[in-house]
């Protein structure tokens, strides 16, 4: 059966359901919703909640790093035994760092970013009534929610939350009953349970996204007519499906080590003068499993942001994206290479240097498709008519961040240079800029751009501009100077045990102050989202930006099924801007006489 026929069949079924007007209760409409738009909002709000929590944790540990000798009595008030005398204890400092990483990487930049926009845009931009399975989609959100609940609970157990780093390396995280680290007790058990639930969520979501993209494209929507956002979500979902199970395997085996006395990751361990009975395992095995997820994970984070940015840049430049096919092929190259570079996180673990060389080769090759994307984005805005609203500014900021952070990756990917840089502030600067800040910029670009589609109202532009400049300047002020702390080990609660590391006290204070300002600015963004979704400027037309893609052909009001009549039919690629003397031609407009389809 041809794809179009399946799509039509699906459409008819859904259409029929819609006509039935089955009553929606509060519970089915807002809580256990199976509608992709509502699930997208649920992911957005949950992601925003976790972003605030994660950022707050970073403010707390920045207090320690900026003023290691100052007591803050309010910390004892809110944290109790974890901050006796107003100083965060070492155990809790490492818990803060660990949870900051876990929350931002998984809950915010994986679920919050990909979950929100894959759900919102895949059915909309493909011309589908909903996801292939609304039920599985709902499950995906609720597994994510549950995983968040478990993670949140871990803050309140007597051991404190996990504190052995977001990478959860054994043996420090691999021995439950050995009191070498407080958070490695119950806190880490909850972390493992939470991550397992999260992996279920990612897999359910990812399978659904792939199934929907492959099967539910509307008539005329060939693969080569899909917007770059959809291509990005497709590759993201494939990355997630293929890599997250490795993490599940890794943490399940670690649970066996912790609870059942196995020795997958443990061998020859002496604690307090006693040799433990674990024998024959290797901590390095865990690192291989972890980074087999961990590296694709950074692309799971950045690829959807790339897709959103490509779309936003094109729409607001009033120009087609430059090199559409090159953009798709470079995404594809990144997706394949993402699986072949994981051990570049492990150059100094004692791995065979020859094996390291192969990972150097693949890692630096990734710079080529990344460079192609950057040059194509820059060419996209060349000779455009740039509408510089907050969404567009964030997209441009994304390109800047991606360049700045990507280039430092070329240093780290070269194993010889990695020897002195590994686990130092250079790495912290690199990944925060390229994966943290850049992904956030992509996400902000997406939220500002598609907010009207979600809520029928625009975000407040003035707050948007303040938010953009504050975040752009703040992020560079925080992370750029960290490059000068090359050689200073990361994950140090204070630096005064060392002469070589104790040189940047002033800089640490400066970074902490800026971090707090940027944090407050993000609260302003939250206020903007909440206020504008209720009272913001109403959308006047269904297509406020003059965009070509299908989501701007649906009515402002949301209802299950998206289009009230027939599904739209697609006749052209999604980037017909500034063509044939017209500003833009929607994908639904049939080709005019003699016009040659772009694809």
């Amino acid at each position: 059966m041809a794809i179009e026929e399946i799509a039509n069949l699906h459409a008819e079924i859904h259409h029929g359901e819609h006509d039935d007007h089955h009553e929606e209760t509060f519970l089915t409409k807002y809580i256990f919703s199976q509608d992709h738009k509502m699930i997208a909002k649920q992911f957005l709000y949950t992601g925003m909640f976790w972003a605030v929590v994660g950022a707050l944790l970073s403010v707390l540990f920045r207090l320690q790093l900026g003023w290691p000798d100052t007591a803050f009595p309010f910390l004892e008030t809110i944290l109790g035994k974890w901050a006796e005398g107003g100083k965060v204890s070492n155990d809790f400092y490492y818990a803060l760092v660990t949870m900051h990483g876990t929350i931002l990487v998984f809950f915010v930049l994986t679920a919050g970013l990909s979950g929100t926009f894959s759900n919102l845009l895949i059915p909309y931009q493909l011309g589908a009534r909903d996801m292939a399975s609304g039920f599985i989609n709902m499950l995906s959100y609720w597994f994510f929610f549950l995983s968040g609940v478990v993670m949140f609970c871990s803050f309140f157990v007597h051991t404190g939350p996990a504190s052995g780093g977001w990478t959860a390396y054994p043996p420090i995280n691999g021995m439950r009953d050995v009191a070498i680290n407080k958070g490695s007790g119950l806190g880490l058990d909850l972390w493992i349970i939470s991550m397992s639930l999260f992996i279920v969520s990612v897999l359910l979501g990812g399978l659904n996204y792939v199934a929907t993209i492959l099967n539910l494209r509307t008539k005329g929507m060939s693969m080569w007519r899909m917007p770059l956002t959809i291509w990005a979500f497709l590759f993201t979902a494939i990355l997630g499906i293929l890599s997250f199970p490795a993490l599940l395997a890794a943490v399940v085996l670690m649970s066996f080590d912790r609870l059942a006395g196995t020795s997958f990751y443990l061998s020859d361990i002496v604690v307090n003068g006693q040799l433990l009975s674990h024998h024959g395992g290797s901590p390095i095995l865990f690192q291989h499993l972890f980074w087999f997820l961990g590296h694709p994970e950074v692309y799971i984070i950045i690829v959807p942001a790339m897709g959103l940015v490509s779309e936003v840049l094109s729409v607001h430049s009033r120009k087609p994206i430059f090199g559409y096919r090159a953009m798709v092929f470079s995404l594809m190259a990144i997706t394949v290479l993402a699986f072949l570079v994981w051990a570049h996180h492990m150059f100094v673990t004692g791995m065979n240097p020859f094996a390291g060389s192969i990972f150097v080769l693949f890692t630096l090759i990734i710079a080529v498709p990344s460079a192609v994307k950057v040059f194509n984005w820059i060419t996209t805005i060349w000779r455009g008519n740039l509408r510089l609203n907050p969404a567009m500014l964030f997209a441009i900021g994304f390109v800047s961040m991606f360049i700045s952070g990507g280039l430092t990756g070329i240093f780290l990917g070269n194993s010889a240079i990695d020897i002195p840089l590994h686990d130092t502030y250079f790495v912290v600067a690199h990944f925060h800029i390229v994966m943290g800040v850049a992904a956030f910029f992509g996400m902000f670009a997406g939220v500002y751009h598609w907010f009207p589609k979600m809520f029928g109202r625009h975000l407040n532009d003035t707050m948007g501009y303040i938010h953009f400049y504050g975040t752009l300047i703040g992020a560079y002020a925080i992370f750029f100077p960290m490059h000068f702390m090359t050689g200073i080990p990361r994950r140090y609660a204070r630096f005064d045990s060392f002469e070589f590391a104790n040189n940047f006290g002033g800089l640490n204070k400066f970074i902490s102050i800026v971090a707090m300002i940027v944090f407050v600015l993000q609260l302003m963004f939250v206020i903007n989202v909440v206020y504008s979704s209720l009272r913001g400027r109403r959308m006047k037309s269904i297509n406020p930006y003059g965009a070509t893609t299908l989501e701007w052909t649906t009515p402002v009001e949301h209802f299950h099924g998206n289009w009230s009549g027939e599904l739209p039919e697609v006749h052209r690629w999604p980037y017909d801007y500034a063509v044939n003397g017209q500003e833009f031609i929607p994908q639904t407009t049939p080709l005019s006489e003699g016009e040659i389809s772009h694809s």
Binding site: I180, I403, N414, N460
Partner: protein
């Protein structure tokens, strides 16, 4: 109190911004101008261009301010090679960074939305795309080749090292380093990782032998623990690394040495220090940053400079305290230093004697010439003796 005040001030600022922003947008809407994005785009174009200039000024200023504070130049042979590679990468990436940023923000300024302006339809160009696939590919190839030549030279085959290579063993544990030298015979006593050697009191091994040193191996009898790592200028070193409890990483920032210490998996790192500590101080004395007075000592910073050992892999709550000094000297001074050390085996025998003396009422656990690590051993020995009674 100040906290509450701070929070109130922050809330007030947020409220002010919120009301101003709301008013601005509402006014625009009332005037019916909210769909006209041209004036805003114009302003933003200038602001973005301003950002570009401020960004480059910020980078220049911070580089001038912070670069002198960075780690000094490497003091090992491979460190110099790494530095070269780093600078070469910095050269290529620096060019790309500057050009792409200028172009990006210049385009934002130049092509900001103007009334009546039309975008130019330009959807692809095989020539251009080929160009900017090929150029990065060639640059990456250069970096890969240069990088791998350097990388493989840093890890020679450990079986064919030069004869004069000195071997030092560093075993990490929470939160300290056990630095073992092979002594005059240049050969380490074997370590046995089993319960017969670790943590069990036997008639002849009745202290906490956490490393599992096998005293029946005669080579162990002149092995000694050191508080400070002494190295000899221009003499190759092979570090044999390990860990007892969790992951650690043996990090010598000034020598650009880093290698993880993994329980159950031995690792090594080979390097050649090429400057003595004294020479390094002399080199630093020419730099203004190092001529500044160190408030802790009252002297200029260079005069108290020391090489250091740090842990670079999160190993628990006191991860940031695993410090030891490293001193590079000439051969003669090193030989003298070795002579000052009492072998572990001799210390234990002395301590055993001391423990027996203690029974008789004479206490003297601190032997002259004993360093801290040995003292710990001896103290734990005495504890054990007391506990065994």
């Amino acid at each position: 109190m100040t906290t509450i005040l701070g929070i109130i001030i922050v809330i007030c600022i947020l409220l002010v911004i919120f009301y101003v922003a709301r008013t601005v947008d509402l006014t625009k809407e009332l005037k019916g101008e909210s769909d006209d994005t041209v004036p805003a785009s114009n302003v933003q174009g200038y602001l973005m261009f301003g950002f570009l200039i401020a960004f480059f000024i910020g980078i220049t200023w911070s580089s001038m301010y912070f670069v002198p504070k960075m780690l000094p130049s490497p003091s090992s042979v491979h460190g110099v090679a790494i530095e070269k590679l780093f600078n070469m990468t910095l050269f290529f990436t620096g060019i790309v960074f500057v050009i792409t940023h200028i172009v990006l923000f210049w385009f934002v300024f130049k092509y900001r939305e103007k009334r009546g302006a039309k975008a130019y339809f330009f959807s692809h160009s095989n020539m251009l795309e080929l160009l900017w696939t090929a150029i990065p590919a060639v640059v990456m190839l250069i970096l890969v080749v240069k990088g791998l030549v350097t990388w493989l030279s840093i890890f020679p085959n450990t079986k064919t090292l030069p004869k004069e290579t000195m071997v030092i063993e560093a075993t990490a544990q929470q939160f300290k380093w056990n630095i073992r030298y092979p002594g005059l015979d240049k050969d380490f006593g074997a370590r046995k990782i089993d319960t017969a050697h670790i943590g069990i009191a036997t008639p002849d091994v009745w202290w906490k032998n956490e490393l599992g040193i096998d005293w029946t191996d005669k080579a162990s009898h002149d092995d000694f623990f050191a508080d400070t790592i002494y190295l000899v200028k221009n003499k190759p070193v092979l570090m044999k690394l390990g860990a007892l409890d969790v992951l650690h990483s043996f990090y010598l920032p000034h020598f650009r040495v880093k290698m993880d210490c993994v329980p159950g998996v031995p690792t090594t790192f080979y390097f050649i220090p090429n400057q003595t500590t004294v020479e390094k101080r002399k080199e630093l004395s020419t730099l203004p940053e190092w001529q500044k007075i160190n408030p802790a000592t009252g002297g200029p910073k260079y005069s108290t400079f020391n090489f250091e050992l740090a842990c670079a892999e999160l190993c628990g709550r006191s991860h940031y305290t695993m410090q030891k000094y490293v001193v590079v000297v000439e051969q003669a001074e090193y030989d003298q230093w070795v002579k000052e050390h009492t072998p572990i085996y001799a210390s234990i025998q002395k301590a055993q004697q001391a423990a027996l003396d203690k029974d008789k009422g004479t206490t003297n656990s601190t032997q002259p010439g004993m360093n801290d690590s040995t003292k710990v051993v001896v103290d734990s020995l005495l504890d054990k003796k007391t506990a065994m009674k």
